[in-house]
Structures are given as structure tokens and as C-alpha cells.
Amino acid sequence: MTVWINEQPRELPVGTRLFAVRDLCKPEADVLIVNGFPATSDQPLRDQDRVVLIRRGERPSAGELEALMAARHTPGVHERVKGASVGIAGAGGLGSAVAVALARIGVGRLIIADFDVVEPSNLNRQQYFVDQIGLPKVEALRDNLARINPYVKVDIFNGRLTPENIPTVFAEARILVEAFDAAAQKAMLVESFRRHFPERPLVAASGLAGYQPSNTVVTRRVGAQLVLVGDGQSAARPGEGLMAPRVGIAAHHQANAVLRLLLGEEPQ
């Protein structure tokens, strides 16, 4: 039978057990993952099983790393996610968190657009660091994503998105995430993208400020290719600021809607 060991195929006698494989291939391994799940006890292996052997705390070689990261994904999911190209319009509280989530699950390509630089007031919710204040957000985010998952291709556009440049910047995005701050910009983006790419899904957000209950943030499909996340009401204004928990909830609704769309599931 063939068993995949750290993503390399290996012929083994039928009935070979997990601990025997460890002893054979990597006796110092103390984390054993079989088909995406950590194994705590010895078990017989079957043809086409995927086994990952890790020594806790060890930094794997570049070649092994991607396989080890992918090992945590449900088999079959990784291939589909890796082939995806997702656009993110805006790299603030929503966009930076969506980008981190999609990079962690190994989305193959992200196209991220923003015109702003990192400011101290962003750090209460956005995925940047103090030492990145003053840097263009798209550059800072690209650097952070590379530290999280270097196997994601990140393309950046450092500038304002307009009805004229949206079709060009996101020409290769099969799904777009609307992650702007200003209401009129959100409407402009939805109108422009839907107009040029009516067959491509768009995941937008509206209503995520403040500290109202988490469960008022919902995902719903409002059109054939239009998904809307948020409570629809809570605008950012004096007395109702934007904060990491609820913006993060909305961002992860968006990221999960993207993942579900990539896997052919209904987003809501």
C-alpha cells in the first residue's frame, strides 16, 4: 500500500502501524498527524493515508512546511483553496483580518488594495504592529502575511479604488471581499464590481461597529452573487466606535463566506 509521509509517497506492507512508520522515518517525532487529525495512540494505516511526523518546536525545511501547514486542513479542501484567487478591497479592520484568515487556510492568491498608511488609531482592531506605523497598509499587510504563510501569493495595489480602476485591479479575483470603511465607498465598490463581473461572488459588510451582541452580526445572501455580512445598522460614529471583537466577528463571517463559496457551499 502507499502511505504519504510528510507528503512523500512511500510503499509499505499492508497492516503497517503508525508507530512503526514513526520509528522507521522519524523516530524523534512527537507529533503524529493522520489525515489531518493528531493521533494519540498507535493505529493501523491504510492505503492512501496521509501521515505527518513532526518534532515539537522544530522548524521544518521550506519544502516540508507547506505540507505540514496543509496537514491541518480537511483532505481535499487544501487543493481547492490553494487554487483560489481572492480580492480584498480595503486593508483596515475588516480587510486585514480577512486577509490573515485566508492566508492561514492557504488561499493561493490574494489581491489587496488600500490607499492608507498604518496609524496608531488603527491598532485597536487592525492586524498591524506598532513598528509598522507610517507604512503603507498594503505593504505592512503583505509582510505580515508572508510571516504567517509564505506560500500565499500576495499582490498589492497601493492607491484609491475608483469605478475606473476596479475592473483592472481585481481582473483576476474570482471572489471579491468589500472591506471599506466609508458607506459611499462600499456602495461604489459593489456597484462597480457587480457591473463588470456580474458572475463573480462579492462578499460585502455593513453594520459592525460598537459592542452590541455578537449574534446580531449575520451573513445573508441578498442577490445571486452578492453576500452581505453585518447587522445592517450599527454605523461607526461618536459613541459607537470600531473595535477588534465585533469587527473581527464580521471579518470572519466574510472569510468563512469566501471559504464556503470556494468549496461550493451556500455562504449563509
Binding site: 480595503g90 483596515g92 479592520g93 475588516l94 480587510g95 472591506a179 471599506f180 470603511d181 466609508a182 458607506a183 459611499a184 462600499k186 456602495a187 461604489m188 459593489v190 456597484e191 457587480r194 457591473r195 456580474p198 460585502a204 459588510a205 455593513s206 453594520g207 459592525l208 461597529a209 441578498v222 442577490g223 445571486a224 452578492l226 452581505l228 445592517g232 445598522q233 450599527s234 454605523a235 461607526a236 460614529r237 470600531l242 469587527v247
Partner: protein, 66 residues
């Protein structure tokens, strides 16, 4: 005429354009996106887009924050 608006059936009197209907709701045009019969309706066409019996309208109102 019967129009489905954001999933809810409504009975409206013709003639009525999308711009006129949005005005009755008091919505700020620059903060909405409108899908008319499942296609995005560019805002420069709101004033000339006539509603007709059996139409569907999705009006997405955006609020700020992100």
C-alpha cells in the same frame, strides 16, 4: 403593480422610477446599491429606471465602519 422589495411583496402605484421610490424611503442615494431584477443598477440610471409589475428590487443600504 406588485413588486418584490428586499424579499417582501409590495403593492405600488405606477408610474414609479427607482429614484422616486428611494426618495419615498428617504435614502441617501450615494450610500445604497440597488439590484433591479437581479442585475446591479448603476446609480446614474436610478432616475430613468421604471418599475414594472413583477419586478424584484434589492436595496442594500450601507453604513460606515470597517
Amino acid at each position: 403593480m406588485k413588486i418584490k422589495i428586499n424579499g417582501e411583496p409590495r403593492d405600488l402605484s405606477p408610474p414609479l422610477t427607482v429614484a422616486e421610490y428611494l426618495a419615498t424611503l428617504g435614502l441617501e442615494v450615494e450610500r445604497v446599491a440597488v439590484e433591479h431584477n437581479h442585475r446591479i443598477l448603476p446609480r446614474e440610471n436610478f432616475a430613468e429606471a421604471q418599475l414594472a409589475d413583477g419586478d424584484t428590487l434589492e436595496i442594500i443600504q450601507f453604513v460606515g465602519g470597517g
